[in-house]
Amino acid sequence: MFYRENGQFKTSYQADQQLFSIPQDRWAILAIIAFAFFGIPMLVDEYMFRAILVPFLILSLAALGVNILVGYCGQITLGAGASMAVGAYAAYNFLIRVDGMPALGAILLGGLVAAAAGIVFGAPSLRVRGLYLAVATLAAQFFWDWAFLRIKWFTNNASSGSVSVADISLFGWTIDSPTDKYLFCLGVLVVFSLMAKNLVRGSIGRQWMAIRDMDVAATVIGIRPMYAKLTAFAVSSFYLGVAGALWGMINLGSWEPAAFSIDRSFSLLFMVIIGGMGAISGSFFGAAFIVILPIFLNQMLPLIGGLFGLEVSIALVSHVEIMVFGALIVFFLIVEPHGIARLWATGREKLRLWPFPH
């Protein structure tokens, strides 16, 4: 009904290959982006920006990176946090060691360094696969955790191992207020999402997916696994590195290696699986689920308890929070094993047929 496609004809392959080939989608996306840039800054308060929106944007970017590797190229990784850390510390070092280094430059260079590290630690994927690879990527995770904790040079000899950056600026725009931070991250995310979408719909994206779905067949049609896997590691790590740099420099301001610990790696993987592997939009859904749900539960549970006249102790809230969180993960998987993005797609398919059931 809402998706009435009758009467919409495509007269060229170009039209058919557009990002969002259904006009309704295209307009919806544009409207969302416009609202994100202009509407949200007028509507929400500082807390929303700092505690929810900025983390959501940055983690979406990171999830995008993980999704490229896990969802599109089928290489499960548990070292995403390490890539973020590499990006963050590299960007930090560029910023403080190179005079006049612009912040954006440092962030992008951080991404590149992370990409290089990603290639090195992705190399085992040429031999090791599946869960074995997943666990092997933990080697990178623990190694970098250790390196940033132990090698003083990385932290500019800070005795505590905690580093911090002052407010950063971009072409004279000092990014210090929460709204600035939000807009900056949003800008980065929009550009990077677009690029990710382009990559995955182009020939490199198809190579990744081919490797994911059936690598022997892929080699037979002339795809080199080495090239496909390592580019996936590189691109993914680049995204993660940029996200890490943003996380450290924009969101946290000061951080220690624990900010990029194995928990981060896990939660990024969750985002991708819950959100939808192999769907760009899945990264956003997943990040929203993982970032917002715990905060929401944390705030709502006492209220719900209050409704029933129960005084819910803080410890209990925390415990119930993780219980509900776990239960919801399972629930969503049962409803749709392919993630929220697929759920969304199915819903859309139903809308197209609506009001007929089939």
Binding site: I76, V216, I274, A327, I329, V330, P337
Partner: protein, 309 residues
């Protein structure tokens, strides 16, 4: 020399303990193709249950016999792990038949969160004591051979012995029973297994129950060493390199992997650590596993990864 031996022994002992946790992973993977991230949470849950019931039961029954209290607590915990297995099958796995590995893995993560939450709600989040009478003080041995002798930790010794027995029992269970074959079939292809009448539900309950009991034993041993507390669930992270090094599907692999990792990480920490600032054992363990994988991508004893067109 005697110090080297001590380190080696220490490594072997911790290796045995890792094996015990690794075994839980292997069991479930082997039998259902699921990589069970909830294993750590199960260890914690089981340990908490053991610790709390051995404290509560004497209170309720007003008795004062440590041994009896432990026996009863163990029995109750076994029952609880059975219920957990049953619920997991009912509420989760049953609905995810024939789904991909990643989906199932994710589901076990959900289970892990849930168990962590329930465990702490029901049993509390303090450090609790598990006292099954493990000897705590060290003994010196071979004092005549080495100067100062070598120090052996009795507790580790007992623990290693129990692990070895458990492993033996499980190996027999897998190889001598018809269920063993059915388990492997399920791991390969849920749907095909169903189509020939293997009752997935029952198989899963059995496997998770066995894994639960393994977790209980691991929980008791680790718990009596470290206290039953939340961080027990992180011992799972120590067991992961063991699992992949030994091979996800191999019981003996879990043992040998555990020994290699245990020895490797202790030696590295003690002999290499000081030169680079210490704290290297965990990544060293993973690197070690990774190096092995480069030569044998399926781990030491894992089933060969099949790719054919």
């Amino acid at each position: 020399m005697s110090f080297f031996l001590e380190t080696l022994l220490g490594g072997l002992m911790s290796g045995m303990l890792y094996s015990l946790v690794a075994l839980g992973f292997v069991l479930i993977y082997k039998a259902s193709g699921v990589f069970n991230f909830a294993q750590g949470a199960m260890v914690l849950f089981a340990a908490l249950s053991m610790a709390r019931f051995s404290e509560w039961i004497p209170e309720w029954l007003g008795m004062d016999n440590l041994f009896m209290a432990n026996v009863l607590a163990f029995a109750v915990s076994v029952a609880i792990m059975f219920v957990v297995a049953w619920l997991i099958e009912r509420l989760v796995l049953r609905h995810l038949v024939n789904q991909e590995g990643a989906t199932l893995l994710m589901a076990t993560l959900g289970i892990a969160y849930f168990l962590d939450g329930v465990g702490q709600t029901v049993f509390g989040s303090d450090i609790y004591k598990i006292d099954v009478g493990m000897p705590k003080d060290p003994v010196m041995m071979l004092e005549s051979v080495f100067e100062g002798g070598i120090l052996i930790n009795k507790e580790d010794f007992v623990a290693a012995f129990i692990s070895a027995m458990l492993v033996l029992a499980l190996t027999i269970f897998f190889q001598k029973t018809a269920t063993g074959r059915a388990l492997r079939a399920v791991a390969d292809d849920h749907q095909a297994a169903q189509s020939i009448g293997i009752p997935l539900g029952r198989i899963w309950v059995i496997v998770w129950c066995v894994a639960g009991i393994t977790a209980l034993v691991a929980g008791i041993i680790w718990g009596s060493k470290l206290g039953a507390q939340f961080s027990l669930s992180t011992v799972a992270l120590r067991a992961l390199p063991v699992v992949i090094l030994g091979g996800l599907t191999s019981v003996p692999g879990a043992i040998l992997g555990g020994l290699i990792i245990g020895v490797g990480e202790k030696l590295s920490e003690v002999y290499l650590g000081p030169y680079v600032g210490g704290g290297i054992e965990i990544w060293f363990a993973y690197m070690l596993a990774l190096v092995f994988l480069l030569f044998r991508p399926q781990g030491l004893f894992g089933e060969k990864i099949i790719d054919r067109v």
